[in-house]
């Protein structure tokens, strides 16, 4: 079967005043249809840039230097800005952002904003659109859905706002949904409820979901597959079950050790993500790796298959 989303060897760099930042440097992932893929990595690893590259909305000075992005069998990098805007965004790929307050516009009624998107990207009449929004809001357990459309963003609580944005992402019935840390700002109970709803909606609407987070707890709760990104590179990819049971890459192991549910002592990974302006030769994680060997510093390690079945970028499995 053709995957919902396939990224291969993606390279993105951004020209800045301080030089060229190689923000993405060989990112690869596969999201099979109907599944939930968690994309994990520390802050600054390039997760948001990956999403921007998929949506075709890179920041100023950024360009795709190599690689491929396949969406339902079509090469997304060959789409023009106009084609993306008229026939991909919202209608085929829905997006759930991290911060609702920075997303929907505070000066317009929520309903007016969602309906405008649907006018361009959803089939049917305005009446159908309102009905679909009300249905989605009801499904997402937003109280008083009809009235919610007439209100402004600041009149909702944090959890309600996130539900509105999920409804917005699903409003035009896309097949793929991409979420950028949508539950990071929420308290644990609300986060738990929203993850539960997302899981149900993926099944109900036959969605494929790419869920970006830096929280392994969320991955374990929600996702089927897992892709670990470090400093703009995919370092480990496999099913959640196999990776969590037997993490292969030293970075994955270090991240898991940091997670409060698992950690014996609450310590972060020592050191920092290397700056995209000056990436070292050799393995990008070598400077922070507990198992570093001499060979790690010479050249970038190739992808290999670990005993767990995961694809891993480490000399141990080359």
């Amino acid at each position: 079967m053709i995957p919902a989303l396939g990224v291969k060897g993606l390279k993105v760099s951004i020209r800045t005043d301080d030089g060229v930042a190689r923000v993405l440097d060989d990112v690869g992932l596969t999201l099979e249809r109907g599944r939930i893929l968690g994309v994990v990595g520390e802050s600054g690893c390039g997760k948001s840039t990956l999403i921007r590259a998929i949506m075709g909305i890179l920041p100023k000075g950024a360009s795709v230097e190599g690689g491929e992005i396949w969406f339902e069998g079509e090469n997304l990098l060959a789409f023009s800005e106009k084609e993306l805007n008229t026939s991909v965004r919202s209608s085929r790929i829905g997006f759930i952002p991290q911060d609702p307050l920075l997303s929907l516009n505070p000066v317009f009624k929520v309903g007016a904003q969602l309906l405008e998107v649907m006018r361009w990207h959803a089939a049917g009449t305005r009446r159908d659109h309102i009905a679909r929004l009300v249905m989605l809001l009801k499904r997402l357990q937003v109280p008083d859905p009809e009235n919610a459309l007439e209100r402004y963003l600041h009149q909702f609580s944090g959890g309600q706002r996130q539900r509105l944005l999920i409804a917005a992402a699903l409003s035009c019935a896309p097949g793929l949904v991409i979420a950028d840390e949508p539950t990071t700002a929420l308290d644990v109970t609300t986060q738990h409820q929203i993850l539960g709803l997302l899981r149900e909606l993926v099944g109900e609407f036959g969605l494929s979901l790419m869920f970006v987070t830096h929280d392994f707890g969320v991955v374990a709760e929600l996702c089927d597959d897992l892709c670990v990104i470090y400093a703009g590179q995919t370092v480990e990819q496999g099913t959640v079950e196999s990776v969590l049971q037997a993490p292969s890459h030293p970075y994955t192991r270090a991240l898991l050790a940091c997670h409060p549910d698992r950690a014996t002592s609450f310590v972060g990974i020592p050191g920092m993500v290397p700056s995209p302006l000056a990436r070292p030769a050799g393995c990008l994680f070598a400077a922070r790796c507990a198992d570093v060997q001499v060979g790690c510093l010479a050249a970038r390690p190739p992808q290999g298959i670990a005993p767990s079945g995961a694809e891993v970028r480490c000399v141990q499995f080359a």
Partner: protein, 336 residues
């Protein structure tokens, strides 16, 4: 909304009173004898004393002030020592000319400034942006009187496209003064010749008066749009597939316009101050030239009344700015 406006008005009254006290003190600190000035050169000391008593000028200052306030409350601003007409009547007849002029300048600065600012921001660091930035620095730095004279030399004297001064050609008969707004009166009287002539007279003074504001609005709109474009919600809106023009003109502008509206409120003070210069150069029969005359002839009643008027207009415009802000951004109203 009504409560919000009322409370703002309540806050304005004490400021206006303070303004009046300070002006009153300043004007009375200048050593001059208004009674002697009013009586004229040939007056006897008895005549002067009589006038002094008649106008209450022999009373202590605080008493004079109270009497003045009591009259102001009834909209009686006294009589001009120069024209011997009630100041309120003079202002009533001259204010429309100034309002016409400031309105045209404001329309010019906003109508041109906001789109140019948007272009400047969207062409960020390309030649249109550089050109507009040079222009806006010049527009703020250039002195109004110099610019006015250059315009007069070029468009009135050399090319003879536009009239040099005044609000109406001397060959025209004025339409009956119904609103005292010349352009409106011309329309009401169906005098299209007067209407066209009055508009032609408005062009050069409006450009002169509007230049500073235009430059400021270009700069602020540019900064506002650039700031907004950087924000994450623009990424979100693009990711949602909004139409590009819609994105630029409505979403971005509506968020940047808050800054521009504030700026317009501040500009208004500058416009009224600028009107003093512009009206003098273009011989415009408004409040600005009236004020210059009053200062030159030491006409105290007029100075006091004009100060109060300008203060009240300024305060009124700022209340209006707050109301517009509230309509643009409902969060502010909730807070108020």
């Amino acid at each position: 909304m009504a409560r919000f406006v009322l409370r703002r008005c309540g806050l304005v009254l004490p400021s206006l009173l303070g303004l009046l006290i300070i002006t009153f003190l300043l004007i009375h600190a200048v050593p001059s004898d208004p009674a002697a000035a009013m009586a004229g050169d040939a007056a006897t000391p008895e005549q002067i004393a009589r006038i002094r008593a008649q106008y209450g000028l022999d009373q202590p200052m605080w008493r004079q002030f109270l009497v003045y306030i009591a009259k102001v409350v009834q909209l009686d601003f006294g009589e001009s020592a120069f024209s011997h007409r009630p100041v309120a009547l003079d202002i009533f007849q001259r204010l429309p000319a100034t309002l016409e002029l400031t309105f045209c300048s404001l329309v010019l600065s906003i109508g041109l400034g906001v789109p140019l600012g948007v272009v400047s921001a969207l062409k960020h660091n390309a030649w249109p942006d550089y050109l507009l930035r040079i222009f806006s620095v010049m527009g703020i730095a250039v002195a109004a009187f110099w610019f006015a004279i250059m315009l007069q030399l070029l468009f009135a004297m050399n090319l003879a496209w536009l009239p040099l001064r005044g609000d109406l050609s001397s060959t025209m008969t004025r339409p009956p003064a119904i609103t005292h707004f010349l352009v409106l009166d011309a329309v009401l009287a169906g005098r299209w010749d007067v209407f066209g002539d009055a508009l032609r007279h408005l062009v050069l003074p409006s450009i002169t008066l509007g230049l500073g504001g235009l430059a400021t609005i270009v700069r602020f709109t540019r900064a506002g749009v650039l700031d907004t474009l950087q924000q994450d919600f623009v990424f979100y809106e693009r990711a949602m597939g909004y139409r590009r023009m819609r994105l630029i003109w409505v979403f971005i502008l509506r968020n940047s316009v808050t800054a521009t509206v504030t700026q317009i409120g501040l500009l208004f003070g500058g416009l009224i101050a600028g009107a003093v210069v512009v009206e003098s150069i273009f011989d415009w029969p408004g409040i600005g030239s009236y004020t210059v005359n009053a200062i030159l002839t030491g006409d105290k009643q007029v100075m006091l009344a004009v100060t109060l008027l300008v203060g009240a207009i300024y305060a009124g415009v700022n209340i209006l700015v707050d109301v517009v802000h509230g309509m643009l951004d409902p969060r502010l109203m909730d807070r108020a």
